[in-house]
């Protein structure tokens, strides 16, 4: 199709007009500022042949100079503060919020967002029938104390810090996952957790956090993950050239990377030849290594330097990583607390104040800069980096508890949290939720191979891991808000035994004898709600028409498990 670019050209002509119209001279809101910056960037970027504009010197980043907006560690007070700020944004944009969500929306949402799975039918029935005025707050406490809270966060963080890579294919992933799970469940303060990771020493067996270094086997990968995941900054572009969007220079990149230059990580043993990878580990060596994974011509060896910050004076014999960890988690670092606040918000709302969530550059301003700064300040001081506390406070807000049904007035809003964003389950959430209904995993032959595990081979691919890999389909993560599964995944859900399991139908329907009762059980189990009157009418007719009720129940469960309502988080 040789004319493709021409078509694009025509499209743009139209697009440029829209852009022009939508840009008032006196930009007021953050979004408009963002748009203007974008426009400027596009114009600048559009002339690759011209010499790049001279980059200004990178200023030394200043500490967050905001006062703590909530003086006590009080989740309800923090929730009120958040709602006040969100209301301000809504008023500025003249948007009215959607109403409070129903109990069934809240139940399913809170379960999936916090514990990573859906409630059982019994749990759903009990919650929906409860008359306790405080039942939502109580559910939040229950879910935050549930061990699945730690597993859900461990899924996300293991995926981030253990990228798929040929150099780490024999490194054990499970110990890191277990470590994260335990840390999150014990509610280790975030600054301490990150310090433990960044400074980890010892073997996998002694200190599973050391896996971080075994899985990211070069200083450049470590610089990337540190900046991206702990500071919310995409630094990778600066690996090979000065960052195109911002003022990061290539030396800033290699200055960060240099903090990891004394890390000595053992080589993973070939598990196919019986190597035991629980004994390998990491230590801080005496001298800087020059090994880099991808070595652009222009890469330089530079002394350790904090990103956008000063060059610390380090003796050649001093360990580097504790110095990095101290700066990373200190109040002098303007990114650390904001990054985890933005991530946590995105985990619950499908999008952060800054999007993409790990692109927190000045050029990409937040939708609610004051709220982000205020929450970061509070979490890093009064809040003591207590993540369960942060989640609880956010989930208590009106903003979190709004329905995802848009109103005609706010349906186009994507930035002001006027209604809850529809989220898509991650592969892990989908597997765990299907397992909740169908006993998937127990039935699917996902037994770990004990012999293999004992021999120290890579984590045995149990049913959950296999399912997750199939739904990830080679990607590292799936989008939190887009439905991204393809034809093979739809075929698997429709036609494999996952949604075609007579034992699962019996398990869900149980001893119900009347069709109404059976249908209600299917809905509570799969969709965490009771069917509407309309649905009940249609479905009882369907059962009556079918030859055998069990077949009809199987059909209804099949449809529920394959529905978008099942796989999306409303």
């Amino acid at each position: 199709m040789p004319y493709r670019p021409l078509v694009l050209f025509l499209l743009t002509a139209a697009g440029a007009v829209v852009l022009g119209e939508a840009t008032p001279v006196e930009a007021q809101t953050a979004q408009e500022k963002k748009q203007k910056r974008l426009e400027k960037f596009l114009k600048k970027n559009a002339k690759p042949d011209e010499a790049p504009a001279k980059q200004p010197e990178v200023p030394v980043a200043k500490p967050v100079a905001v006062a703590d907006p909530v003086k006590a560690k009080d989740a309800a007070a923090l929730a009120r503060y958040i709602d006040g700020e969100i209301a301000r944004g809504l008023a500025e944009e003249k948007l009215s919020p959607s109403p409070r969500c129903s109990d069934d929306e809240f139940l399913r949402r809170a379960y999936l967002d916090i514990a990573g799975t859906i409630p059982t039918a019994d749990k759903a029935r009990a919650f929906l029938d409860s008359k306790d005025a405080d039942k939502r707050a109580k559910l939040l406490d229950e879910l935050l104390a549930d061990p699945r809270y730690g597993r859900h966060l461990a899924d996300a963080w293991t995926a981030k810090l253990f990228p798929a890579d040929s150099a780490n294919r024999f490194v054990l992933k499970e110990p890191l996952h277990k470590w994260f799970e335990a840390q999150f469940n014990a509610n280790a303060p975030w600054d301490q957790l990150v310090t433990a990771l960044v400074t980890a020493e010892g073997s996998v067996e002694q200190n599973p956090a050391a896996t971080y270094f075994l899985a990211n086997r070069s200083v450049d990968k470590l610089a990337d993950t540190t900046a991206q995941h702990f500071m919310g900054i995409q630094l990778q572009c600066a690996q090979c050239h000065n960052h195109p969007f911002t003022t990061w220079k290539q030396t800033e990149y290699w200055g960060m990377a240099a903090f990891y230059s004394k890390v000595v990580a053992d080589r993973p043993k070939n598990a196919n030849k019986g190597g035991d990878n629980t004994k390998i580990g990491v230590h801080e060596g005496p001298a800087q290594s020059r090994a880099k994974d991808f070595f652009p011509e222009s890469a330089k060896t530079v002394p350790p330097k904090f990103l956008g910050g000063p060059e610390p004076s380090l003796g050649t014999r001093d360990p580097y990583r504790p110095v990095l960890a101290k700066w990373l988690t200190s109040p002098d670092n303007p990114y650390f607390a904001k990054a985890i606040v933005n991530r946590t918000w995105a985990q619950l709302f499908g999008r952060g104040f800054v999007n993409p969530i790990d692109d927190m550059l000045d050029e990409n301003p937040a939708s609610h800069p004051d709220l982000l700064a205020g929450l970061a300040r509070h979490l890093s001081t009064t809040g003591g980096y207590d993540l369960k506390y942060l989640v609880k406070a956010v989930c208590l807000t009106d903003a979190y508890q709004r329905t995802s049904r848009p109103t005609p007035d706010n349906k186009d809003d994507k930035y002001q949290f006027s209604h809850m964003t529809m989220k898509a389950m991650s592969p892990e959430q989908l597997f765990d939720s299907l397992a909740e209904v169908t006993a998937l995993g127990k039935a699917a032959g996902g037994k770990p191979d004990k012999k293999q595990a004992a021999a120290g081979k890579g984590a045995p691919a149990g049913a959950r891991a296999q399912f997750v890999n199939f739904f990830l389909a080679g990607a590292e993560v799936t989008s939190p808000v887009d439905y991204e599964a393809g034809i093979p995944q739809a075929l698997r859900l429709m036609n494999s035994n996952i949604a075609n399991n007579p034992a699962a139908v019996r398990g869900v329907v149980g001893s119900a004898t009347k069709p109404e009762e059976a249908i209600e059980r299917i809905y509570l189990a799969a969709l965490s709600r009771r069917p509407t009157a309309d649905e009940m009418k249609t479905l009882t007719q369907y059962v009556a028409k079918a030859g055998t009720p069990t077949t009809a129940y199987g059909d209804i469960l099949w449809a529920a498990l394959n529905s978008s309502e099942f796989t999306l988080i409303r």
Partner: protein, 421 residues
């Protein structure tokens, strides 16, 4: 207000050269080339991946007078002046439709990294991203997003996937061509399956009415495509039992032959990219017996594929590529009684047929030993950009990662299109 989608569009469009003084540079060149030759871009590509890395000196770049010449003799082909291994006599008969690139020279000597680079044009770990493979790029740029057929099919083992382009461009994997697509057969009898779809449709409509989210529409589209695939007559392309026995036997026997038959059937119904892999080329030991055996698999399969495509009028619009991880050492190693050749990325060969290329062209040249490229060294970027140009894909286009980083389809290539069309 500029929505995120619009923002992405602007970035993409700006990458296409809209704000730039000129349109992307390759277009005029391609347009001129197309005008001069009257050729249309290829619609499909079949990539035959020789897993493990095939010995160039024992297949398409024989050096009978070199030190590590090996046991095989060169033979003449239907392309004047082009000689290949004596164990590829049928392929020799179709070299008048093919081109050889004998100057491949790449930087990766370990299997996983070499395969990654050969499929994506990027080094593993570069810039902290997972890059899309050629098949995913073709799926994105040429595929029909709403069609009943997948736009990228990989047959016979693991392939490199869609990376940051996302699961929509992931290949449909066929482990064994004889068994067809996994989960393609409906889980219930036709009437019951229809009933189930009816129930599902009611649920979807009600949910969409209430919640009006894009994700609900995307879910619906994906399910509709999957169901159409299950019920379409094009899906018969995945069913090898529908292929006449005589037609099938020309391809030889075994999984690779079956996969190549399926690839032809898929191209016939319009699938833009099919990859078929054949393992076993990592011949550190017993090189000559093994390469002879492997040659006996590719020889009938490739020659039958090219002939069938030609007879069906599809060769002009279908590009067939034969390649692997890297080449193998010009010298024969000293591993036991039946020695072999080791990994060698510095100089190796790939072969192409169809897709509007000029038959008999040879690009690049190695020295007397087959050890160093002495004319036109070719990287994976050069090769990938060439395939893009043959298929009408603008390889200078930037696609966006999930975090809105614009990434050029092929970075800094020197395509050799003009030498083969």
């Amino acid at each position: 207000m500029l929505t995120e989608k619009t923002r992405r569009d602007f970035l993409r469009l700006s990458a296409a050269g809209v704000f730039a003084p000129t349109l992307s540079g390759w277009m005029p060149v391609m347009a001129r080339a197309a005008e001069a030759t009257g050729r249309k871009p290829a619609k499909s590509c079949i990539l035959l991946w020789m897993d493990g890395g095939a010995s160039h000196k024992d297949t398409f770049d024989l050096k009978p007078d070199s030190k590590g010449a090996g046991e095989f003799k060169p033979i003449k082909t239907s392309a004047p002046g082009v000689e290949i291994s004596e164990h590829l006599p049928k392929i020799a008969g179709v070299m008048n439709h093919g081109a050889l690139v004998r100057g491949m020279s790449t930087p990766e000597g370990a299997h996983a990294r070499a395969k990654y680079y050969g499929h994506t044009g990027y080094r593993e770990g570069q810039g902290g991203l997972i890059y899309p493979s050629l098949g995913a790029i073709a799926s994105k740029e040429l595929g029909n997003p709403d069609g009943s057929l997948p736009n990228f099919v990989a047959i016979g083992g693991r392939s490199f996937g869609s990376g940051f382009l996302g699961p929509k461009h992931q290949p449909l994997l066929i482990t064994d061509a004889n068994r067809g697509v996994e989960d393609l057969k409906a889980s219930a009898a036709a009437t019951q399956f229809e009933n189930r779809l009816g129930l599902l449709d009611k649920m979807e409509k009600a949910f969409q009415r209430e919640y009006q989210a894009d994700a609900i529409t995307d879910h619906k589209t994906t399910y509709e495509r999957a169901v159409r695939l299950m019920q379409s007559k094009e899906a018969k392309a995945f069913d090898l039992s529908a292929e006449p026995a005589a037609a099938r036997s020309k391809y030889g026997t075994g999984r690779f032959a079956d996969g190549v038959v399926m690839s032809r059937r898929l191209v016939e119904v319009g699938v833009p990219f099919v990859e078929v892999s054949l393992g076993g080329w990592d011949t550190h030991q017993d090189n000559f017996t093994r390469v002879k055996n492997l040659s006996s698999q590719i020889d009938p399969a490739i020659s039958a594929l090219v002939t069938d495509l030609k007879e069906r009028g599809l060769l002009e619009t279908t590009l067939v590529v034969w390649m692997g991880d890297f080449g193998r050492t010009p010298n024969i190693n000293a591993r036991g009684a039946n020695p072999g050749r080791d990994h060698y990325p510095r100089a190796w060969s790939l072969a192409m047929w169809g897709g509007g290329i000029r038959g008999g062209a040879v690009v690049g040249k190695t020295d007397k030993e087959g050890a160093t490229v002495v004319d036109r060294p070719t990287t994976a970027q050069d090769y990938l950009a060439t395939v893009c140009e043959l298929m009408g894909i603008d390889h200078t286009k930037k696609n966006e990662t999930a975090t809105a980083r614009p990434i050029t389809i092929v970075e800094k290539p020197k395509p050799f299109t003009s030498l083969i069309v």
